[in-house]
């Protein structure tokens, strides 16, 4: 035990775990305490809707690092504990178990939570969200309980055709369940991709037997008429139609966990405001991960990202800041999604694009690229089973290299020649 006060990290997430270890690498010798409202050491969140839900991985296989490493680095964890209040004046945290704890430095890695659907029947059992390991365990247990005696597959309704919804649909389908994805907009992934990519994923899912319904708003979750059991039985839509549902998964986006920061008077917008060194408006407090709104020079705006690379890299900057060093965080955002035999890799942010160019056949094959351009410069790319183009896309965007339509669209043009 050091005689100095500890650095406390709120959130045992990708960002929280990385920040703790990076603190040691940056030379922090005082105590480090991670306060987590979950019961586990930091784990990989992306597999939750993929391999974990599909039963290909077990919970212990998704830990980011082994428990022994945290112990060796003298990093302690308070599990199942929530911080109720940050008192910045006294540098003290009030915990939900009634205790309080003083900090020397504080890091907010509070992440984001699933956005809740607030409609009639939302409180019925059988309605799930998919954000944490516990969520997945509950879904799996519920599925096992609901399996009919004759082992008929369950009818699963997924509300929301975003990445989480589609990945869950792929996982459930591979387990043999009957899946319907319901999307309120006129196409899946509408918020994040071009129509060609949406259409591709709709066709892909339909080819595996998933039913995708667009332009449909959920109005209410219904239980069995005159039943005593408060369990979802049907989903009622605003057009009056209904779908049977043994289980419902709601995947309609997330909300950043900014309330603690906000109540303590830190600057908060759509995320906890930090600078390029992950510092908040308080010199003693940094923040990293899904909860932060941070500057990005590539896109000349402040952005909030829901991504693992963002959490890990920003955490490294935050740890350096705590140790008095400035390590600028200004990486190109990138994302990935695995569904069936398709790997989607996304380089950059397509917000504000004025042109799209397709490389490959987006209709008849499972391998193509959509380039997003703004003022003739590639600003983002969706790469479907095109890992090589994904790698080049990252370089085209970060190095601001211009490529013309023919070079981008012609599959016989070697993109590597743009870099020589």
């Amino acid at each position: 035990m050091s005689s100095n006060l500890p650095c406390i990290i709120i959130g045992g997430s990708h960002a929280g775990g990385q920040l703790a270890l990076s603190l040691r690498q940056e030379g922090w010798t005082d105590d480090i305490i991670v306060i987590s409202n979950e019961a586990y050491y930091p784990y990989q969140r992306p597999p939750l809707s993929k391999a974990l839900l599909a039963g290909k991985l077990e919970p212990h296989q998704i830990l980011i690092r082994p428990q022994a490493l945290y112990e060796k680095q003298n990093i302690s964890f308070l599990f199942n504990t929530s911080v109720e209040k940050i008192n910045r004046q006294n540098k003290r945290l009030e915990l939900d178990n009634g205790n309080s704890i003083d900090y020397q430095k504080l890091a907010l890695c509070t992440g984001a939570r699933a956005r809740k659907l607030e409609i009639c029947g939302a409180e019925l059992s059988g309605i799930h969200y998919l954000r944490s390991l516990d969520d997945v365990e509950h879904i799996k247990a519920d599925l096992n309980n609901q399996l009919k005696p004759q082992a008929k597959p369950s009818s699963i309704v997924i509300v929301g055709g975003g990445y989480i919804g589609l990945e869950a649909a792929a996982s459930f389908t591979q387990l043999g369940h009957k899946v319907t994805v319901v999307e309120a907009a006129n196409r899946v992934l509408q918020r994040v991709t071009a129509p060609e990519v949406s259409n591709f994923f709709t066709r892909l899912h339909e080819s595996y037997g998933v039913s995708i319904i667009e332009n449909k708003q959920v109005a209410e979750f219904l239980k069995q008429t005159e039943s005593e059991i408060n369990r979802v039985h049907q989903v009622l839509f605003s057009d009056g139609t209904v779908l049977p549902a043994d289980i419902v998964i709601v995947g309609i986006g997330v909300r950043p966990n900014v309330e603690l920061a906000e109540q303590s008077g830190l600057e908060v917008k759509n995320g906890i405001c930090v600078n390029e060194f992950a510092q908040t408006s308080d010199d003693n407090i940094v923040a990293a991960g899904d909860c932060t709104l941070h500057p990005n020079t590539m896109y000349q705006t402040s952005i909030r990202l829901e991504s693992v690379p963002n959490a890990m890299e920003q955490a490294k900057s935050a740890a350096a800041m705590i140790c008095g060093k400035q390590k600028k965080y200004d990486a190109l955002p990138w994302f990935w999604s695995d569904q069936y035999d398709v790997k989607l890799q996304i380089a950059g942010l397509n917000q504000g694009y004025d042109q799209t160019i397709i490389r490959g056949d987006s209709v008849n094959t499972k391998s193509f690229v959509v380039w997003y351009l703004k003022n003739n410069q590639v600003i983002a790319a969706d790469c479907i089973n095109r890992p090589r183009e994904f790698m080049f896309a990252k370089r085209l965007i970060t190095q601001k290299i211009l490529a013309n339509i023919a070079q981008l669209s012609d599959d016989t043009f070697d993109l590597s020649s743009l870099f020589s």
Binding site: Q25, P47, V308, P309, W336, R388, S416
Partner: protein, 106 residues
Amino acid sequence: MPLIKYIDHSGNEFEAEVEAGKSVMDGAMDNMIDGILAECGGCCSCATCHVYVEEKFLPITGEAEGMEKEMLSAVNDPKPNSRLSCQIIVNQDMDGLVVHMPESQY
């Protein structure tokens, strides 16, 4: 447990005992060895765990194929012995394996 040696671009050497069944990337992550970023956590999506396998071990580790090979064709300074370390699953035969980490991952 197989002992894996990681050498960074400046020649600094790090050794880690890596359980069979884990990847060479896991070995670096679990022992805080810099030079392997592992942004995607090991699902062959990012190519930030690129290593050069010392030639004599290539018959044991095998060469890159498919998705991994395509990713590697577009990294900085690809070589015939390039691998993504998340795709090298450690077994007993790999005791003593040596991998070199590229400068671009720092």
